[in-house]
């Protein structure tokens, strides 16, 4: 296996995620796209870790990925909480309507 194939997969996933967070109106879909991005990073980390296994990098890479998974779970929880509050106050989670503050 070549290293570059994982890295390219990760780059493509990352950018699909970026596209998703930029165009989706629905806040929940934006949160989903964020997960795509974070997973892309994880692929990178684990692949680089495996690539540098001989210098003992596999373990830090996996640990890093685990931490990202944990943080991502917390972020999704917090994000959904905010989305729910907004939904309760506005009866909508269309991000495009959230523009009271500007200038």
């Amino acid at each position: 296996m070549y290293l570059v194939q994982f890295l390219l997969l990760s780059a493509v996933l990352f950018c699909i995620g970026v596209y998703g967070v930029l165009v989706r109106r629905n806040a929940v879909l934006v949160l989903m796209s964020i997960e795509l991005i974070l997973n892309a990073v994880n692929i990178n980390l684990v692949a680089f870790g495996a690539f540098n296994r001989d210098v003992g990098a596999a373990i830090p890479g996996e640990v890093f990925a685990l931490f990202i998974i944990a943080v991502a779970a917390a972020e999704v929880g917090v994000g959904l909480a905010m989305v729910l509050t907004i939904y309760r106050n506005r009866k909508s989670i269309d991000l495009h309507q959230v523009d009271l503050l500007k200038g």
């Binding site: 570059v4 699909i16 596209y19 949160l31 997973n39 998974i69 959904l80 509050t85």
Partner: protein, 173 residues
């Protein structure tokens, strides 16, 4: 031994490309699907694919955690979110906004920059085939509880704070 290793390499590559193409397709569907529940299900596919890639790279523990945390918890959270915000279960026209082109432009530019950088770096370097007898779970836990202990403790506080905070914010009064 050589043929076996070679066979393993071929098999791994076949699996990689198979999974990767499914993942890319599913990921595209996540960001383009007009049905929000479908999008969530496509997300499951991508996440499972990522777990499979982890296994290919010899990181079983991360792969298993991926399945447990993401597919077991996070996706369920998303589905709750979808239901609580009363999204339509069927397809919707209006999920994207009009200014799609700047987003596409940004994403394409970004992927080009990233691709250039990683190809420039990785070229044709290969990932060494893993000695299957070696297990990494214990090493991972050792690392977490020694080198990264502060980060680990910090993340426990983080999870607690996120929990309390999310309850306060989301709670109906």
């Amino acid at each position: 031994m050589m043929p076996a290793v070679l066979a393993a390499v071929v098999a791994q590559n076949v699996f990689f490309y198979l999974i990767a193409s499914i993942m890319v397709y599913a990921a595209l569907r996540v960001v383009t699907s007009s049905n929000i529940v479908h999008a969530a299900l496509y997300l499951v596919v991508v996440l499972a694919g990522v777990a499979a890639q982890f296994l290919l790279l010899g990181a079983e523990f991360v792969g298993i955690t991926q399945v447990l945390v993401y597919i077991g918890a996070v996706v369920v959270l998303f589905l709750f979110g979808i239901m609580l915000t009363r999204a339509k279960v069927g397809s919707e026209d209006n999920l994207d906004h009009d200014n799609r082109w700047p987003a596409i432009l940004t994403a394409v530019m970004l992927v080009l920059v990233m691709a250039y950088a990683v190809i420039d770096f990785a070229g044709d370097s290969e990932i060494a085939v893993l000695d299957q007898s070696e297990t990494t779970v214990q090493q991972v836990s050792d690392a977490i509880f020694s080198t990264y202990i502060v980060a680990f403790e910090a993340i426990s506080v983080l999870l607690l704070a996120a929990l309390i905070g999310a309850i306060v914010v989301a709670r109906k009064e």
